[in-house]
């Protein structure tokens, strides 16, 4: 390799430091086994660190990640015949010779003379190639510079000066996921990413905010307050719609509209996903369609209101539905619908069109559930209700655009929490969320699913998730699910299982050149400033959003 080769330009001049070790064996599918130079202390290494492997024969550079660290011995006899532990000389001689440490390295990217950008590997370095700890410069070059479409999400472990940038164009191009156990910081990471998407203007977002985490300020367990998206973008790029006006007002949250759904607007498809939550059997679920067909748009009012007993009785007399089934359906609806204050008799606030318009001009919408977030059925109903309609609008708009009679709808990212409730194998096949996940961005709509139980999500949907941001997971099934459909990523399991419980995430997939463990950036004043929020902007929301009139109170 000449001094002026492109490799040198990309990765800097040849390394003169001592290599960490040499490649002993391995394969493309299982990764490389590296023997650690005895002069290095194994304790100073960690899974998740980056390494650079310089091919001994061609000089090509491979960029990889340490996925496992192990102790080995040249002979199994060492187990039965260990040196005297009180003799430091013997211990020193044995260490690094008979007893040694190995690293398991997953090579991810490769750069040779013909390339100016790293590309996914299709081969591996030859035997005895030297391996070095990647410098901050190496890592920075792989993850590129921050710009309009590349959003600084965090820093690799032990490299605080290096920025890992998410390619937002690719992030919103396919459905994505944020996974992690409860309390690992999913909401903070999600909010950070959403802030990036909103700032970039690459897509609108519709956020079903179950726990009031995104719209307005949120407190962590220590009582520290963090700004919500509406506060970060006081210029009207984010609207908050609430389902629970009372709670939103009590929290001091500023909102731009109140969502109510009229009984007459609810269709059986909206209720179908609630079957397991309300305890509706298959027969009862099927009967909903019959009831809708017989009773018309006012079916729910008629079922709940005793004034329509005659019509109900006629239906029973027709023999198409048995009294037990009908009684069960009525009981279950009565126990749920009247308790939900946002469900109102007659027509609702008709905000679907408004939300669609809002999304289409680039405004993101946070749907704040207030206290209804504690009722999973309410969350599922509203998310399903709105998503079905907005998706239908997008399909319509997209078809018009295909006929060259209109503009393409603006890309939309729908954020749902507790996603396994929507994408469970028993329902994902025929629900709107399953469809969106599977159809990629055919209609410019993708999902950002936030979940602590990815194993509950249908495999086919998981395999379509383009970018996975994963905080700590320790359940084996969940870890397996996160890596489903990702080739060669199973070696990253050890990395994932050893993340810290806070502010660390493994990001892999479409939006990053290679899997990366990051310490996510702090959600603080510096972040607010980086997003572009002017401190003089009144966080109380005194400045009215530009499009406020779309949502009259």
């Amino acid at each position: 390799m000449s001094d002026s080769s492109e490799l040198d330009v990309f990765f800097g001049s040849k390394r003169d430091e001592r290599p960490l070790g040499i490649v002993l064996e391995g394969s493309l599918s299982t990764g490389l086994q590296v023997k650690l130079d005895p002069r290095y202390a194994i304790e100073k290494l960690a899974v998740g660190r980056y390494v650079v492997i310089q091919s001994r024969k061609t000089g090509s550079i491979f960029f990889g990640i340490i996925t496992d660290i192990a102790l080995g011995a040249t002979t199994p006899d060492l187990l039965h015949h260990p040196p005297d532990a009180s003799d430091p000389f013997l211990l020193d001689v044995y260490s690094g010779g008979v007893a040694f440490a190995t690293l398991h390295v997953s090579p991810m990217l490769m750069l040779d003379d013909a390339d100016d950008q790293p590309r996914p590997i299709k081969t591996i370095p030859s035997h005895f190639s030297a391996i070095y700890e990647a410098t901050a410069q190496d890592v920075a070059r792989v993850f590129g510079e921050e710009d309009e479409a590349h959003f600084f999400i965090g820093a690799p472990l032990d490299m605080e000066a290096v920025q890992v940038n998410l390619d937002l164009e690719r992030f919103v191009e396919r459905s994505s996921g944020v996974f992690g156990k409860t309390g690992t910081g999913k909401s903070f990471i999600t909010r950070t990413i959403l802030a990036g998407i909103i700032r970039s203007g690459l897509a609108s977002t519709l956020i079903f905010d179950m726990h009031n985490d995104y719209g307005w300020s949120v407190m962590d367990e220590t009582g520290r307050e963090y700004k919500g998206l509406r506060q970060l973008f006081p210029d009207g790029r984010v609207s908050v719609i609430t389902l629970d006006e009372t709670t939103s007002r009590a929290r001091g949250s500023k909102f731009d509209g109140i969502l109510t759904i009229g009984y007459e607007e609810i269709e059986p498809e909206d209720m179908e996903m609630l079957a397991s939550l309300l305890g509706l059997s298959d027969i009862q679920t099927g009967a909903l369609y019959f009831l809708y067909q017989r009773l018309g748009r006012k079916w729910i009012s008629k079922l709940l209101d005793e004034q329509h007993e005659e019509e109900i009785q006629n239906m029973l007399d027709s023999g198409r539905i048995v009294g037990g089934t009908l009684g069960a359906i009525r009981r279950k609806l009565e126990s749920f619908i009247p308790r939900m204050g946002f469900l109102v008799p007659g027509e609702g606030s008709k905000v679907v069109d408004d939300i669609f318009q809002r999304l289409n001009i680039g405004t993101s919408v946070v749907l704040e559930f207030g206290n209804y977030g504690n009722t999973l059925a309410a969350y599922v109903l509203v998310a399903n209700y709105l998503t079905r309609r907005i998706h239908a609008s997008y399909v319509h708009r997209k078809n018009i655009a295909a006929g060259k009679k209109g503009e393409e709808p603006r890309p939309l990212v729908i954020v749902i929490e507790e996603a396994h409730k929507f994408l469970d194998p028993s329902v994902a096949g025929h629900t709107i969320f399953g469809n969106i996940a599977r159809e990629l961005r055919k209609y410019n709509v993708t999902l950002l699913i936030v979940d602590q139980r990815p194993s509950g999500i249908e495999d086919e949907v998981m395999s379509q998730i383009g970018t996975r941001v994963t905080c700590l997971l320790d359940n084996e099934a969940d870890i397996r699910a996160v890596f489903s459909g990702v080739s060669g990523a199973s070696t990253l399991r050890e990395v994932l299982a050893r993340l810290d419980t806070r502010q660390q995430a493994l990001i892999l997939g479409h939006a990053v050149p290679m899997p990366v463990v990051v310490r996510t950036r702090d959600y603080d004043q510096r972040f607010y400033a980086a997003i572009g929020m002017d401190e003089s902007d009144d966080a109380s929301g005194a400045k009215p959003p530009a499009e406020d009139k779309l949502f009259p109170d």
């Binding site: 006899d77 015949h81 040196p83 000389f89 001689v93 010779g97 008979v98």
Partner: protein, 200 residues
């Protein structure tokens, strides 16, 4: 160990793999087990580096008779030890050679000839020669030699002539190399490693 090479005897038998030297006791420095020596070869153009692994003193007619006496005068003992009829013999294993380019850790291309001078190796040359460790394999492969003892003693002696600060590093380095070569025989390895550190 003298700072400069000193003649310690002459070659009496030799082959590519080693040589036998003979000497008179009057020579000030009798070679010690595990020390290096050099024998002239190729008319002085090269020297074969030998490692002394055996020193033998054979009896003669007078020694046997005198040993049978009950009371031997001190003069006769001194006469028998110094004015010997049969010289002291030492066996050396060829572990390398030196030519104009310096030391090489390989078998010499030609052995020394009979009666070639054998010199002790100066400490500086010993340090130079033992800075590479390929000769360890030659020692380990030598048949019917007290290899383990020889290895430990040689390396211990080589460490002792180094500055104090370098001794430990040298022993560690050689210990690791032996560990690499004997990784499949841990009992033997531990024996040699213990021998490396015992005071010799």
């Amino acid at each position: 160990m003298p700072e400069s090479p000193m003649m310690i005897g002459r070659v009496t038998r030799c082959s590519t793999r080693g040589f036998v030297g003979a000497m008179q006791v009057s020579v000030k420095e009798v070679p010690v087990f595990g020390s290096f020596c050099q024998a002239e070869a190729q008319s002085g153009r090269s020297h074969v580096v030998g490692l002394v692994y055996d020193i033998s003193i054979t009896d003669d007619h007078f020694a046997r008779q005198i040993a049978a006496l009950e009371d031997v005068p001190q003069e006769q003992i001194a006469d028998g030890q110094i004015n010997r009829q049969v010289p002291i013999e030492f066996n050396a294993l060829a572990v390398g050679f030196r030519d104009d380019a310096g030391f090489h850790q390989a078998l010499p291309p030609r052995p020394p000839l009979t009666l070639a001078s054998v010199f002790s190796m100066a400490p500086k040359d010993t340090v130079d020669f033992t800075s590479e460790l390929h000769f360890l394999q030659t020692i380990l492969n030598a048949p019917q030699l007290p290899v383990d003892e020889l290895l430990a003693t040689t390396l211990r002696l080589s460490a002792q002539i180094r500055p104090e600060g370098e001794r430990e590093r040298f022993l560690l380095q050689t210990g690791r190399e032996i560990a690499r070569l004997l990784a499949q025989d841990l009992t033997r390895l531990e024996n040699i490693l213990c021998g490396l550190r015992s005071e010799g």
